[in-house]
């Protein structure tokens, strides 16, 4: 009986061995590729390599916006959760119980001694309080717990969600010294990590803030739009197809920052650069890196050089003082903007904290008035009326109109600003003294369409096409009736212009009749210093004007300063030619304008000053500001007077 029984034991044993070999064959031969795939996805992690955003320079190479390194302190999720359970104001609820839940009694000192030491130590090193750290991280913990809760509810069992393995920031933007200290004392602070990130810094603070613009976080919807833009973007064709598909550029990440206004937004694609990607093999659990498997280095963004001269810009801003308004300085021949000053301004460095307040402010500090503020131009517009009338021979040098302080049209009284009147006025006096009646009478005689056409020729009512976003076109009304024409002739009525449009008008007068293209960008360089792009000035539109008309206007503009509405403001020494304007707002205050250029014999600068909502007039408030500006542009002339 024995030998037979031995055999049956051996047969049973062989049966088991056969099962094992079959299973081994199934796993290693038939399902091998499946498990190789799983192994790969579990051990290889990809993570982004941040690209440095391009720097924004002014025309002399002064930095206006640059990426700096900032350091965030992040804590391992499990540590953070325990801290919140033990020390948080309202303990975190969880389906999956943790040991910390059992000892949430705060009086139990010994239970949490280690945790307390750790947290307080961290707070001390970071020079902040324990509550602050907890407060900063509360949102992240709640979010992760919510995800976990939802997953566990869905599957009805404990689940370790991916988010639980992450690190979450407890404090952002600490100093380099603190970051180094945390790195050095890593052993004392297990589960704490320093995460570097880049931070946009604007060293000139609020200077030119409206030109440079600011950045903001992508919204979910925007992200979807932007991510499609980069679909199938292949960087390097020398790699194998497999690797290429892994290294596809992903475009924007979900919480990326993007330029919102100004140059940051306009040249977003140039400044942005291209995020890199790195594939790493990691050691299980502690996510320690074993080796880099595959990498695509990031491509830095390109640097942008602006036409802005930050010295003139900051001086212009200073000259504006507390007045709400605008100063624009431009090169009349090329359209290069030297200064685009707004007041009030904002500081892009602190915008994140200030945004709500700024957005509610009735003075609208976020508005770039130079291109977005459409206002009635007032008398500044009169040069267009004069050029239109003279070009069509409606008036000539010797046409005189009698000004008694007002004129009639169909029983409506149109008033001159001077109640007593200017007497008999020709064009050579009408511009310096800004006589309304002269222009009313001219408008009466002008063909109705003509003023509209000439305003159009000077670019009124359409965007200048400057390389900044959200420019307004203003409003050039259809001129159907003589009454409308009379109002538009002195820059009132429904006529609205932006300051930049008017600068262009005066640039055309200064440069002999060319409507230039105003622009901000002068060149774009990559990080290696190669010039990728320069602003290619199209020659501008030549306005068909008779030279003798232009010289009459130019001479009249010079006399505004010597004997007209802007006399005795000290502008003569700078050879300024210009025109004041005081536009009625319809309320009790005015918009004071002064537009002009200097020096009149060889114009180098065309400028415009606007002070909104003031009791003063163009000459009285904008004149002195112009003097202030000139004294900076030509300091030597200012001293000789």
């Amino acid at each position: 009986m024995y030998p037979i029984r031995n055999k049956s034991i051996f047969v049973i044993f062989l049966l088991f061995v056969f099962c094992i070999v079959a299973r081994l064959f199934y796993l290693q031969i038939m399902e091998s590729s499946k498990y190789k795939g799983i192994s790969k996805t579990r051990r290889i992690r990809s993570y982004p390599l941040e690209a440095v955003r391009g720097t924004i320079f002014d025309r002399h190479g002064n930095v206006l916006a640059i990426d700096h390194h900032a350091f965030d302190i992040s804590v391992k999720y499990r540590n953070l959760l325990y801290c919140h359970i033990v020390y948080g104001k309202n303990p975190v609820q969880r389906i999956t119980e943790l040991p910390a839940h059992k000892n949430t009694d705060k009086s139990c000192k010994e239970c949490h001694e280690d945790l307390e030491k750790w947290l307080d130590g961290l707070a001390r090193v970071l020079n902040t309080s324990r509550d602050r750290l907890l407060k900063n991280s509360k949102k992240a913990v709640k979010k992760v717990e919510q995800i976990k809760k939802n997953m566990e509810k869905k599957f009805g069992r404990p689940i370790l969600v991916r988010e639980e393995n992450g690190y979450y920031p407890v404090i952002s933007d600490v100093t380099l010294e603190k970051a180094i200290r945390i790195e050095i004392e890593k052993d004392i602070f297990p589960g704490v990590r320093v995460t570097p990130r880049s931070k946009r810094v604007y060293p000139e603070q609020a200077t030119a803030s409206h030109v440079i613009g600011y950045m903001g976080k992508l919204t979910g919807k925007e992200w979807e739009e932007h991510s499609e833009k980069w679909d199938n973007f292949v960087l390097d064709s020398s790699r194998s197809e497999d690797e290429n598909s892994l290294l596809l550029y992903d475009g924007y990440a979900k919480d990326d920052f993007i330029g919102r206004t100004g140059v940051e937004a306009m040249y977003e694609d140039e400044l942005r650069g291209m995020r890199g990607k790195r594939f790493e093999e990691i050691i299980c659990k502690n996510t320690q890196i074993e080796k880099v498997v595959l990498e695509r280095p990031p491509v830095s963004g390109n640097d942008i050089y602006l036409t802005i001269d930050s010295k003139i810009q900051s001086h212009a801003e200073k000259a504006l003082g507390n007045n709400r308004g605008v100063i624009i300085v431009m090169e009349p021949q090329t359209g290069e903007i030297l200064a685009l000053a707004n007041n009030p301004r904002y500081n892009p460095n602190t915008l994140n904290n200030d945004f709500t307040r700024l957005n509610r402010d009735s003075k609208k500090p976020l508005l770039n008035r130079t291109i977005q503020g459409a206002l009635p131009p007032g008398s500044v517009f009169k040069v267009i009326t004069a050029i239109a009338a003279m070009s069509q021979n409606t008036i000539n040098l010797h046409t005189n109109f009698e000004c008694n302080g007002y004129t009639n049209y169909k029983n409506i009284i149109f008033r001159c600003w001077s109640d007593s009147g200017h007497g008999s006025v020709a064009i050579e006096d009408a511009i310096p003294f800004s006589c309304n009646v002269f222009f009313f009478e001219t408008a009466k005689r002008l063909e109705k369409e003509l003023l509209y056409d000439w305003a159009k020729k000077f670019g009124i009512g359409e965007k200048t096409g400057i390389d900044l976003l959200f420019e307004k076109a203003g409003n050039l009304p259809d001129i159907k009736t003589t009454a409308t024409a009379m109002n538009v002739a002195i820059g009132q009525g429904a006529l609205l212009t932006t300051p930049l449009q008017l600068v262009r008008v005066y640039a055309a007068i200064a440069n002999g009749g060319t409507l230039v293209q105003p622009h901000i960008m002068s060149k774009i360089k990559n990080k290696q210093g190669e010039i990728l792009k320069t602003f290619s000035p199209d020659t501008g539109k030549k306005i068909d004007m008779r030279p003798e008309i232009l010289s009459v206007i130019q001479k009249a503009l010079q006399e505004v300063v010597t004997r007209g509405t802007a006399k005795n403001k000290g502008l003569e020494v700078y050879k300024v030619a210009g025109k004041t304007g005081t536009a009625e707002t319809g309320r009790r205050d005015n918009h004071a304008w002064f537009a002009g250029y200097a020096p009149y014999d060889n114009p180098q600068y065309v400028f415009l000053i606007l002070v909104e909502h003031t009791q003063e007039h163009g000459g009285t408030i904008a004149g002195p500001i112009a003097k202030e500006l000139m004294s900076f542009l030509y300091p030597e002339l200012g001293q000789s007077s």
Partner: protein, 363 residues
């Protein structure tokens, strides 16, 4: 009794097979952990060999003679362990002696086999109800103590051992069937009153693996499957298995060393390991067949069943077709107590062959 060694009876097939298994084991312990564990393992193997040769000098009947006393002694140790032992990873399995720890449950396996063999050796005219009942009782007492530790794996290996010994001792098929159905009837009681929650979770994890893939045993199982599956036909090469090297695989140098071998050596060489065990078992049953003395024969069947059960359960749990219980791969896995037990068992097997006797009772 000492000195009657016939060296020509030394088994020259099993011995090299064991040496190959030990060598493979040491190399893969190095791949799965570090030199420190390899050194410890080498020390254990050295002690094992010394023990092996010392025990050869004693006649195995001496073990039979003292088997009940040893049995009671080890039972006392198990009881003592439950009262005083150190809890490691939530279970009381070890006695600490200096820097080494001793696991009495490992020795219990051999002790039980000796006691069962002694009890059943002269029952060749059929086992009665009393004999079967007593044999079951002899097994259940240490099993209960070991389950209580809790060490389900070691306890479970005793069931096949009991069955194999009873079978060889000549139990009738009727009793065997009855025993089988009785244990089926008892198993629900085991679930509700004996098993710890984590043990239940392991069994659940085995039955529904995809639901517990993130936690505990389900995670272990999945990582082991990934390791074995990604090995393919020829494997990643020694020291190159990513599941092993990057520490995704848990218990790499102990319970899951077969997965490491399968990942780094591939299908063909993993089958070679199995082949070695088959040779080992075949030779073992050959010795049993040639042993005319009933105590020795029962002991050999018991010991080989013990080895076979351990190897099969360990490899099956690596392959995800058995629940994960802490059972090592004999002669390959890292571990002192299991290594010593294996050497003692091996020594007894060789001893029986060397000191082979004529069955006095039958002739």
């Amino acid at each position: 009794m000492i000195g009657s060694i016939r060296t020509k009876n030394f088994d020259w097939i099993i011995f090299p097979v064991i040496c190959i298994l030990l060598t493979i084991g040491v190399f893969f312990i190095l791949s799965a952990s570090n030199e420190r564990y390899v050194m410890k393992q080498l020390v254990w193997i050295g002690i094992g060999f010394v023990l092996f040769f010392i025990l050869l000098y004693f006649d195995y009947l001496l073990f039979g003679y003292y088997s009940y006393i040893i049995y009671i002694g080890v039972i006392c140790l198990l009881v003592l362990l439950l009262v005083t032992g150190d809890a490691v990873k939530g279970s009381r399995r070890w006695f600490s002696i200096g820097s080494f720890s001793v696991q009495p449950s490992e020795f219990m396996k051999i002790t039980l086999i000796l006691a069962l063999a002694r009890f059943l050796r002269y029952k060749k005219h059929g086992l009665g109800l009393f004999d079967v009942g007593a044999a079951v009782l002899l097994t259940i007492v240490p099993m209960a103590l070991i389950i209580k530790q809790p060490d389900l794996g070691t306890a479970l290996t005793m069931i096949p051992v009991l069955i194999a010994i009873l079978y060889t001792a000549g139990i009738s098929i009727f009793y065997l069937g009855a025993l089988f159905f009785l244990s089926l009837a008892v198993s629900p009681l085991l679930w509700f009153f004996v098993l710890q929650p984590y043990q239940k979770l392991r069994i659940l994890g085995f039955l529904w693996p995809e639901k517990t893939a993130d936690w505990g045993a389900g995670y272990h199982r999945l990582q082991s499957l990934i390791a074995i599956g990604s090995g393919g036909l020829l494997g990643a090469g020694w020291g190159n298995g990513t599941q092993n090297r990057l520490k995704f695989l848990p218990e790499r140098h102990t319970d899951f060393i077969f997965a490491v071998i399968a990942e780094e050596w591939g299908f063909l060489r993993a089958c070679f390991i199995l082949f070695l065990y088959v040779v080992f078992f075949m030779c073992g049953l050959g010795i049993a067949k040639n042993t005319r003395e009933p105590f020795g024969r029962l002991v050999i069947v018991g010991l080989f069943t013990m080895f076979a059960t351990q190897a099969i359960i360990n490899i099956a749990m690596n392959l995800g077709i058995a629940p994960i219980v802490g059972i090592t791969l004999p002669f390959v896995s890292y571990g002192g107590s299991s290594m010593l037990t294996s050497f003692v068992a091996l020594s007894i097997i060789f001893n029986i062959k060397i000191h082979s006797k004529i069955d006095l009772a039958s002739e």
